[in-house]
Symmetry: C2
Subunit: 456 residues, 2 copies
């Protein structure tokens, strides 16, 4: 039997601390603004939605933040995750490059999302929260938080985009199996949902509407319910860094160090979780790894959006942050990569792209699925459509090495499996997927709706 | 962080040989009979369906059979699989017992089935086979063989029970993603399928019909196509023993040895794969581990069937073997545990049950799903309905320990995950699952159709 293709760490190697990139950011932080006054928000304002221990993490400047034992105990179910070398893919491509991938698909709900879901459930439990609210699109985040709330005995209300609620019942049933209450959004449980239904009783819903409903329920609960978000915010990025911290140790086991580190990016959480520990090495140890974020051409936040202040949600009721944005009025088209449809991007990822520490590219849908199918046929694992964007970029980097003869080491994050996305594969095989690219004029038009932030 | 809950082996510990229980069987082997003449079959007869290297394995008496390197190379994608300790389940039960489980759900297609699929594809490739045929019910086996044939460049025709083909499209799409040709059975591609359709154009199909179609295509191909079976036969049991061989080493890592070893049993392959290496220790080293096979009360082959000669298929065209059987005319009711609906049982498992080396019990559907839900809520992993039978028995053994205060070590095989069975969970949560038990009088009636084997 030839070389090892899997690099496993013992449970004792589950990281003891998360990496907080705030401590190393090469640019000063930008303020979070109140959506009404456009003045910097107070911790008390954020505390309406989040417990103070999470608000504190959002502004924390410590480089390493200890992971509480109860969180590490639950991480033990699936962490450390494997780092694998895709030798069959390398061979199929005929590339001299070595391709590694971190396999976050092995978590019980099939993605990286539980890394922060478990942490958020823990901190809310510690803070005395009894119930959480959240939104979910296709259900990756909802199923992760449902599992986490189940472990800590928290009640959970999930506003699931109505069209997914009906078309993708499997993830909904997983959430319900973990005792979450799942509602097809828009609902008549909130003022905002009622307003949407009055205007369009047949509304299929959207992530923006679902966020607004989940936020409204928490904000009007008199403190009995808090809200939980699965991406974008700083504490979420930080919780995800267990991925990259493990990967660094596993690359050492493999005796290589990546020349290129790749993640797909929607709100930024799996990308940040995998890449930030490598960014840390670039920033503090002079490493020169290329850090690459890949997004869909249909939602090209980093590659066509503007780095500016914008609302975090479509209804313009969430805080304003500085980030790459397509405009909060951006309506994502009905592509299948459900997790990469946010109009904005993590402020931390955005700042690093703006500063040049992270580079971004986009990929069209069909070339993404071509990559996914080649990966599944060579490595066996059927990737999530989101993760397939990272695979596309890894393959393109490896093919470039074939041209130049360079033996680059390429590492990407497989953020999840595609077990609940098989109909998208069927559409691809039947030639029914669209290669929609978000047009420049639509971006320009959306920018006219940006908030008028004084001095920005 | 407290004790370890996961026991991983390095890739170098993937077993180098399968365990062949033929070498240790405490009773003499029984012959395989020709369905027409009822005389012992010749290798040439079996060679119509299987390549000679697989026929040779079927009658091999060597205790250890070397695993070819190309098979081990592919095993490296998911093997060695983790052995886990279910500490949260133990705590929820309040039992002094320790509960371990071998996690075969981590394979790319989510079950133990690739362990033999990869081996069979390899041996067929070696023998010059260009194309395989097989049948599948819900699709566990079909997706495993599709992946394996994809790796070895074999063409594959799969006859999928028509009702599953339409109701469970996800696993079908996985098979098609691996380039398999999937047909809803009964089809008009075979004489037998046409006959069924003439009698009932709306036939929903059955595993028995699908087997007959797959066998017919191979048998009438003039040697260009061979047939592959995912359970029951000796070589299939042997290929699966990588599970138990790894588990023995992992239990040693955990510093314990199981008092009880449990697997669910349909055709017997995941049960045999996990249990036979422990049976070996019982037979040759005087260990006294209780070896427990668990089957559905709706298909109680071992607990209500008869140990006798019967046809391997419903159409009475497959070889006759001595096994526990409910009669080849047995019509399995529409329960959800799709993989445990065979009328017979592996001859090797049957002989060990008859001899007293393996004990059997059955479990009703609702108590099985209760166990599955408790397991998922404590350990996070959503089990396949088949595997839930083993979980039910493990929980019952652990609860018995709670009564007696015994600190037994219980180990079961988690043969697969339930990602493609979520609608069954929904039915359970809505109280819509039936607790059907196969009635005694039906068993007696079916026994009147057994083949009249001279001298048996």
């Amino acid at each position: 039997m030839s070389d090892r293709t899997r690099f496993d760490l013992d449970q004792s190697r589950i990281p003891k601390a998360w990496y907080n990139i705030n401590a190393d950011m090469p640019v000063p932080p930008t303020p979070v603004l109140h959506p009404g006054t456009m003045e910097p928000v107070t911790p008390e304002f954020l505390n309406v939605l989040f417990p103070m221990n999470i608000v504190a993490q959002e502004v924390c400047q410590d480089r390493w933040v200890e992971i509480p034992d109860p969180v590490r105990e639950i991480y033990k179910i699936w962490r450390p995750t494997p780092m694998r070398r895709a030798v069959r893919l390398e061979k199929a491509l005929g590339t001299p490059a070595h391709i590694y991938f971190k396999d976050e698909s092995v978590s019980p709900v099939g993605s990286h999302k539980p890394n922060t879901a478990v942490a958020q459930a823990f901190y809310n439990k510690e803070a005395g929260t009894k119930a959480l609210t959240t939104e979910t699109g296709a259900g990756q985040w909802g199923s992760a938080l449902a599992m986490a709330c189940n472990f800590f005995g928290l009640s959970l209300e999930i506003f699931m985009v109505k069209v997914s609620y009906h078309q993708k019942p499997y993830r909904r049933i997983i959430m319900e199996n973990f005792d979450a209450h799942v509602f097809p959004s828009p609902t008549d449980r909130t003022h905002f949902g009622k307003r949407v239904l009055e205007e369009d009783p047949e509304s299929p819903g959207s992530l923006g509407i679902a966020i607004s409903e989940a936020v409204e329920v928490a904000a009007t609960s008199g403190g009995t319910k808090k809200y939980s978000l699965g991406s974008v915010l700083g504490h979420v990025m930080m919780h995800q860094t267990v991925i990259g911290i493990e990967a660094l140790e596993q690359m050492e086991m493999a005796g290589e160090y990546p020349d290129v580190v790749i993640g797909c990016a929607g709100g930024g959480s799996n990308f940040a979780g995998f890449a930030f520990p490598f960014v840390h090495k670039n920033l503090t140890e002079g490493k020169k790894t290329k850090i690459l974020a890949v997004e869909p051409a249909s939602c090209p936040t980093l590659t066509k959006g503007k780095y500016t202040f914008d609302f975090g949600d479509t209804a313009a009721t969430a805080p304003i942050v500085k980030m790459y944005t397509l405009g909060h009025t951006f309506i994502p088209p009905g592509i299948h990569a459900g997790g990469l449809r946010y109009h904005g991007m993590s402020p931390a990822v955005s700042a690093l792209v703006d500063h040049g520490d992270v580079v971004a590219r986009s990929a069209r849908q069909n070339e993404t699925f071509q990559a996914a199918v080649l990966f599944s046929k060579t490595e066996g694992i059927i990737p999530a459509p989101e993760s397939a964007h990272a695979i596309r970029a890894a393959i393109d980097e490896a093919l470039a090495c074939k041209e130049t003869g360079e033996k680059k080491v390429i590492a990407f994050n497989l953020s999840g499996h595609g077990h609940f996305d098989m109909t998208a594969y069927q559409s691809f095989h039947h030639g029914m997927l669209e290669d929609y690219e978000y047009p420049d004029h639509a971006v320009e038009e959306a920018m006219t709706h940006l908030p008028k932030v004084p001095g920005a």
